[in-house]
Amino acid sequence: MAAASPLDFDSGKAESNEASSKWLDAHYDPLANIHTFSACLALADLHGDGESKLVVGDLGPGGQQPRLKVLKGPRVLTESPLPELPAAAATFLKDQHEPRTPALALASGPCVYVYKNLRPYFKFSLPQLPANPLEEDLWNQAKEDRIDPVTLKEMLEDIREKAEVPLSVQSLRFLQLELSEMEAFVNQHKSKAIKRQTVITTMTTLKKNLADEDAVSCLVLGTENKELLVLDPEAFTTLATMSLPSVPVFLEVSGQFDVEFRLAAACRNGNIYILRRDSKCPKYCIELSAQPVGLVRVHKVLVVGSNQDSLHGFTHKGKRLWTVQMPAAILTMNLLEQHSRGLQAVMAGLANGEVRIYHDKTLLNVIRTPDAVTSLCFGRFGREDNTLIMTTRGGGLIIKILKRTAVFVEGGGELGPPPAQATKLSVPRKTRLYVDQTLREREAGTAMHRTFQTDLYLLRLRAARAYVQALESSLSPVSATAREPLKLHAVVQGLGPTFKLTLHLQNTSTARPILGLLICFLYNEALYALPRAFFKVPLLVPGLSYPLETFVESLSDKGISDIIKVLVLREG
């Protein structure tokens, strides 16, 4: 079994081949049609029947049909449509009553929907944000028609420029309008109160006052207006509000709300802020200089995956402990907790279709999947304690069960010298011929050198002669003045009696265009006729080749030919 073979951990060999794998393939359905994030996966015994179910806040294909799905085993138990896309799902115990079945919370838009026994139980909406008093005042004036739309617009723009509190949607929309539409807009909307609503971006749970497994938990919400809210589990009132410098994306909490807790929030500005119970604003800040793609706490270490393909470990005070490079982009991360062996590790789904499991910076296991895994969840599912649930980019569902005998050995992932070190260098071979030539060169090097030099001179001489000849016969014409470096090249096409004469004229100077050139043809008028023997050349931009075409008609039927001379002249 896997436990016996430490070789299994070598990254090259850690594939889940049947015999040595730590995982049993329980289920794979590539067409399960589940599109979701790790935050929207939750495992809980929702009915209190001892069987753990999987709750999926499904965004639907293309984020079009949000649904709440509950899976029992591979089957979908219930499925209900959601009004908006789910941002996060969590299960928590909301009270001490028996039977102790957990409630399900689903954050979606500005609301948290709480389900009990899979029936809607409570809907919590985020409180309205206070509107800008100046803005409110302006709209009140508009209501009483004391202000005309143009002034209103100016005043609102002024508020937008300076005020700390942003404008409401209504005002922003108004500012976008054309002058003609303003009046109607004001009339239509002036009676409405100014509203500013925000949405939930992330959610997690925090134990209320006991550390037990089945203790009552509060919900912790992260909102778009850079705040964190802690909700009371029974009354759903806001117990605490904390503000952050940026919008939270991932949350990680430890401790109990009533005693002491630590809250890490990975934010959109690429920083991770760490808050404590008594702090209203962040106590420590980790600057990643990259976007975090996942945040997992393993014991006391915060593991952050960044979008620069690396995992970082940080202490709770924000000190960097280690960094591990991944072979591909991280898509999602989650915690693997094996209670029976007291193991906590981080799972990271990568874009190359691997799921890597790390304990601190040591690689424990690699699972290869047929498609890139976009969400991960590990825990009790059905009656099996250690189940790994993965959904893929294409909407597939993979369920794997950790073998009971499987032990993750630490340090097994240690790399030796890279495998390439053992491969032989591919030194190009030399042929027998090469060796023979070498020998010959040794014997007759001087003679070879002399012959070569002589031939080289001859070559140069010939080149020089050809050049002189070309100059003399002006086969490749050269500009007479240095001020107009030109290249001229003529082509005659056709079978006759009409030919097409194409001149390619190129300005070879580096920067200066040439203006005011003329072209003139000199020819025997008895033999040829040209429509225009003299015309102007357009402006010549440096570097471009200008094709100038003209027709030549041969007048003689005796098959005599003569030379047509082309002259490029400067005006004046």
Binding site: G62, T202, V249, Q421, T423, V427, K430, H449
Partner: protein, 498 residues
């Protein structure tokens, strides 16, 4: 009346898609969101601009970021992105202005300071750049800031200060292989071989396939004659970066050190094929061919090298050796004269020249060169305690004896001596090439020229450690010097005549 949709409704989704690099999905959501909000959703525009920038459409991204800045003028982040796009478009001055604007909104952002610093670097205002970068470090320490700061010192040519900075950086993040490698290379340049090796080794423990570190460490091993170890190291990068000219150059010189000349030539020719304009490879090729007594080939490689690097005395010396063996004393002398003119420190040049002159019977000139050589030797003795190739010393002594004992004392003997010597030299040459005299100095030159190249591309110090070898040869006979026309030495009369 109708309700207005919440503007930020899908921001979280856009962000999640964005960080997963799922740009297609991201763009779809952005489009939907912008339609719904009639283009008011700032974050959607912001991410769209980021994606544009990643796709290389910097101008479009700039325009979108400017839209964002209009939608929420108080946000320093929008301004930062506008400035970043300007920076990428090469408009550094405009970028600095926008960054200054952003700095007014957010005083304590290291990123603004850092980027300002980088902009100033590109504008060559190093003092301002330094101030900004130090300020950035003061706010929050990041590896990147250290790297840029080090770069400024390198650009200013201040190696010691650069080393200081990199030392601090390595203290701050001891596992950053780039920092370790750069520091190692800097130590190498300054001549602290032990420290250099230590840092390069550290870099390799964290990242065993680090190209730069392996190449640098390998070249150091080569310098100490550990060719087999160096070769095993090179194997790692040979599979990772099979088309690297410096790598094949170094592998070739390893084989040369192991006296596997055919393999050496194969590897060097591959390197030359990959980088036909690298004079160091040509130099080595010329050297190996000289050793193989293929003087005609050596001549071609060396003259090609001189065309690319007309300022190096050693090259002319090797060319002269080749010419001597090709029996063209006339041009050999010219080449030696040029070598002597260019070279300031290498006594070998003078010695070889003296030997040639002596063999030609021009005793007085030979004596002058011999004295020149003694001068150089004394100079070197004063400055450093370099050891000389025993063969060279022996040859010098013989020549000295021959010159000073005078004509009476057998013309033939000394002439023959260097000649017979030369046979043994050319074969035993390889054994002696790694003397500190030749190699360290040559390595230093290679490094400094590498550093000179590195100024053109922006951030990295690229190393192409061509290991140069020194040759010590005594003379023979003439032919002519010719494709070297470009260089000032010669214009042999024959050319004109033919």
């Amino acid at each position: 009346a109708l309700e207005f949709p919440i503007l930020e409704k899908k921001n979280w989704l856009i962000h999640l898609h964005y960080i997963r690099k799922d740009y297609e999905a991201c763009k779809a959501v952005i489009k939907e969101q912008l339609q719904e909000t009639q283009g008011l959703c700032e974050y959607a525009i912001y991410v769209q601009a980021l994606i544009f920038r990643l796709e290389g459409n910097i101008q479009e991204s700039l325009e979108l970021f400017q839209t964002c800045a209009v939608l929420s003028p108080q946000s320093a982040d929008n301004l930062k992105q506008v400035a970043r796009s300007l920076f990428l478009l090469g408009k550094h001055k405009a970028a600095i202005e926008v960054y200054n604007e952003a700095a007014k909104l957010n005083q304590k952002d290291w990123e603004i300071c850092h980027n300002l610093g980088v902009c100033y670097i590109y504008l060559k205002q190093f003092n301002k750049a330094q101030d900004q970068l130090h300020h950035a470090l003061h706010l929050n320490r990041h590896d990147l800031t250290y790297i840029m700061l080090g770069k400024i010192h390198l650009l200013a040519g201040d190696l010691d200060k650069a080393i200081e900075i990199y030392k601090k950086a390595v203290e701050f993040s001891p596992e950053n292989t780039e920092l370790l490698t750069t520091l190692g290379l800097l130590y190498l340049q300054v001549g602290f071989y032990k420290k250099a090796f230590e840092h390069l080794g550290n870099a390799l423990t964290y990242d065993p396939i680090n190209y730069k570190a392996i190449l640098a460490a390998g070249s150091m091993m080569q310098t100490h004659g550990d060719f087999d170890v160096a070769l095993t190291k090179y194997r790692v990068i040979a599979s990772a970066v099979p088309e690297s000219p410096p790598l094949w150059n170094n592998i070739g010189m390893c084989f040369f050190g192991k006296k596997k000349y055919v393999a050496a030539i194969s590897c060097l020719k591959r390197a030359n094929y990959l980088a036909p304009f690298d004079w160091k490879i040509l130099y080595n090729l010329g050297l190996v061919h000289l050793t193989m007594q293929q003087y005609a080939s050596a001549f071609h490689f060396l003259s090609a090298a001189i065309n690319f690097q007309p300022k190096m005395g050693e090259l002319y010396m090797l060319l002269a050796v080749a010419l001597t063996n090709l029996e063209d004393t006339e041009n050999a002398k010219r080449a030696y004269a040029e070598a002597v003119r260019l070279d300031k420190y290498n006594p070998l040049v003078n010695l070889n020249y003296a030997v040639l002159l002596y063999n030609q019977g021009e005793k007085r000139d030979a004596l002058a060169q011999y004295q020149e050589m003694e001068k150089k030797v004394n100079l070197l003795k004063d400055s450093s305690s370099l050891e000389y190739d025993s063969e060279m010393v022996e040859m010098a002594q013989k020549l000295g004896a021959a010159l000073q004992v005078g004509e009476a004392l057998v013309w033939t003997k000394p002439v023959k001596d260097p000649k017979s010597k030369q046979r043994t030299t050319s074969t035993s040459k390889a054994a002696s090439f790694q003397q500190p005299l030749g190699s360290n100095q040559a390595l230093g030159q290679a490094m400094s020229s590498a550093a000179a190249y590195s100024k053109l591309p922006s951030v990295k110090i690229m190393i192409s450690l061509g290991i140069l070898e020194q040759e010590f040869k005594s003379p023979s006979l003439p032919l002519e010097l010719e494709p070297v026309e470009a260089c000032p030495t010669e214009a042999p009369a024959q050319i004109r005549e033919k």
